[in-house]
């Protein structure tokens, strides 16, 4: 078979696999949680619970918490990638994929492609919930889109990391608890919900070691200044670096298993 049909095959198969993945997301309440219910709930809960205490009122708190919860949602949507891959590998369906004359890498590629759409849904949900609660970013709509895209890209780079975890782990439960702990640790030990200045010295050190802190800072800066800041550039490079390192590792782990 010539290269041309192989490539056409790969693109078609990947699109079909991504479609399958999204269908599963929409049919399965568990998978829907990550990208829709969770950001809405967190936005409402944190906003109305801590808004008064941390920023005087809900409206003043929103510029802090909208980027925080946006990135937290990216983390948990990305971490879903790992458990979904593990579930697929463990189910009989994967045997069928392997026995079909289709592009070998398509199931992995489809997952990562569908992740982009899930991240997009999660981003729109988070930002829209903020808007409904009264969040009006000073930078304007264009910059909201820019910050959303940056968030999606960072989320997608993390998808590769979680996909690797999913490929290496023994079962879906392991992946889920690992994802949960990682998501909790990275989002709560950062500046997602509170200004870092209010933390104790030790906690400040920890928060500054957490890469998520810088991602959230960059997003906040874009939304408040309406400019592509130095931090945003660093965060973008960080994301590219993760993809460059983890994409080959993930593909390697996938090929090794199959």
């Amino acid at each position: 078979m010539d290269v041309q049909t192989h490539r056409g095959n790969l693109i078609m198969n990947t699109a079909t696999m991504a479609y399958r993945n999204l269908l599963k997301t929409f049919h399965n309440p568990d998978r829907f949680m990550d990208v829709i219910i969770q950001p809405i709930m967190f936005m409402l809960m944190f906003g109305y619970l801590f808004g008064g205490a941390i920023a005087g009122n809900v409206k003043n708190y929103l510029p802090t918490i909208v980027p925080g919860i946006l990135i937290q949602t990216m983390l948990s949507a990305a971490s879903g990638s790992g458990s979904q891959i593990r579930e697929d590998l463990d189910s009989g369906v994967f045997d069928r994929f392997k026995s079909l004359p289709m592009a070998h890498i398509a199931p992995l590629a489809g997952q990562l492609f569908a992740d982009i759409l899930r991240l997009l849904i999660a981003t729109v949900t988070s930002l829209a919930t903020g808007y409904v609660m009264g969040w009006r970013p000073t930078a304007g709509f264009g910059w909201v889109i820019v910050s959303g895209l940056l968030a999606i890209f960072i989320g997608w780079s993390l998808s590769w990391v979680f996909a690797l975890v999913g490929l290496l782990a023994k079962n879906a439960t392991t992946v889920e608890s690992f994802s949960m702990i990682t998501m909790m640790t990275l989002s709560f030990l950062s500046n997602a919900f509170i200004p870092i200045k209010t933390l104790s010295k030790t906690m400040q050190v920890i928060a500054y070691m957490n890469p998520i802190t810088y991602v959230i800072t960059a997003i906040r800066q874009i939304l408040s200044t309406g400019s592509w800041t130095h931090e945003a550039v660093l965060v973008l490079i960080f994301g590219i670096g993760i993809v460059v390192v983890f994409a080959p590792l993930t593909v390697w782990a996938y090929n090794r298993n199959n």
Binding site: L23, S91, G92, R96, S99, P101
Partner: protein
């Protein structure tokens, strides 16, 4: 005319750790044949099937599907068969229609061809009414049917079925047998595994008996059953005076495989078709019988018989 082999299996061997799961198994299956792999739990049936269908790499040996090597020409070989695994390999979260659509697309069908094929298969497998329900609400039989439907999307010339009726109730089991027979009349070559001798007997042209990873016997169902003495027939003769005429009729029809124990008779049939003429002859001679039992040889008998003297 030259006979084409649908599959050629040569010296297939697989070890898991120290345990030999499949030990130097070789056989050929001709086009149009139904070939049964018969063996108890853990015999190695699934492992053989997984190696034949490129899901598992063999330690040693080779498999050719329509003379294409499954290792060197994997994708080509994969385009020639359909597989229904031992455990359901359909997507639980989505509907039957969506499953068929997705797997049609992955089989390389265009969108409109996929729609058409999906509809065909849904009606062929009586799944139209539940086509859009989630699979969670499906019975075991429906799931199995969908699984089989998905394996037949590309109308493959060779179909692998791993224990197609395990866990099905008798009625659903019969339906599955009918479906398989229909495939045969359409010209498919079928390789199936089973733990049940009667199933292999009903469906297969040839049977390979597998035990502890080894192929211990291969042949037609008739041959295998002959070897283990066939169907056992037992009954009691009504009156003592009828023993002699009965013995004469039975020896005429069945040969010398008859034992008398007073009025009780034990005989073995080479073929169940011998039964009716025998009973008719007895009735015409005015011989009354009671307590009639017929015992098909069980898988246990086959194994006892085939493994005796081997260890």
């Amino acid at each position: 005319m030259e006979v084409i082999n649908a599959i050629e299996v040569n010296h297939l061997t697989k070890k898991f750790g120290n345990k030999i799961a499949v030990d130097n198994v070789s056989f050929n299956v001709k086009q149009g044949e139904v070939f049964g792999l018969l063996g108890p739990n853990g015999a190695g049936k699934t492992t053989i099937l997984r190696m034949m269908t490129t899901l598992l790499k063999a330690d040693r040996g080779s498999v050719k599907i329509f003379s294409h090597d499954t290792v060197k020409e994997g994708r080509l070989a994969r385009s020639m068969f359909g597989l229904t695994g031992q455990y359901a390999s359909v997507d639980e979260d989505i509907s039957a229609r969506e499953n068929l659509m997705i797997f049609s697309r992955l089989n390389g069908l265009s969108r409109s061809a996929s729609k058409q094929r999906t509809q065909e298969l849904l009606s062929e497998f009586s799944l139209v009414d539940s086509a859009d329900k989630p699979l969670k609400d499906f019975s075991g039989g429906m799931r199995r049917r969908l699984d089989l439907a998905v394996s037949l999307i590309s109308s493959p010339a060779l179909v692998f079925l791993d224990e197609p009726t395990t866990g099905l109730d008798p009625r659903t089991r019969m339906q599955m047998w009918d479906t398989i027979r229909k495939l045969v009349t359409q010209g498919s070559t079928i390789i199936l595994t089973t733990q049940y001798l009667d199933e292999a007997d009903q469906l297969a042209d040839r049977i390979a008996v597998i035990d502890h990873g080894k192929l211990i016997k291969i042949g037609t169902p008739e041959k295998l059953k002959q070897q283990i003495g066939g169907t056992k027939l037992n009954f009691t003769i009504g009156q003592v005076s009828q023993i002699d005429p009965a013995a004469k009729i039975m020896t005429d029809q069945l040969g010398d495989s008859i034992h008398f124990n007073g009025q009780q008779v034990h005989a073995s049939l080479k073929h169940t078709s011998q039964l009716t003429p025998l009973l008719v002859a007895l009735q015409q001679a005015g011989i009354s019988i009671s307590n009639l039992t017929i015992q098909e040889p069980s898988l246990d008998d086959v194994f006892m018989n085939l493994t005796v003297g081997k260890n």
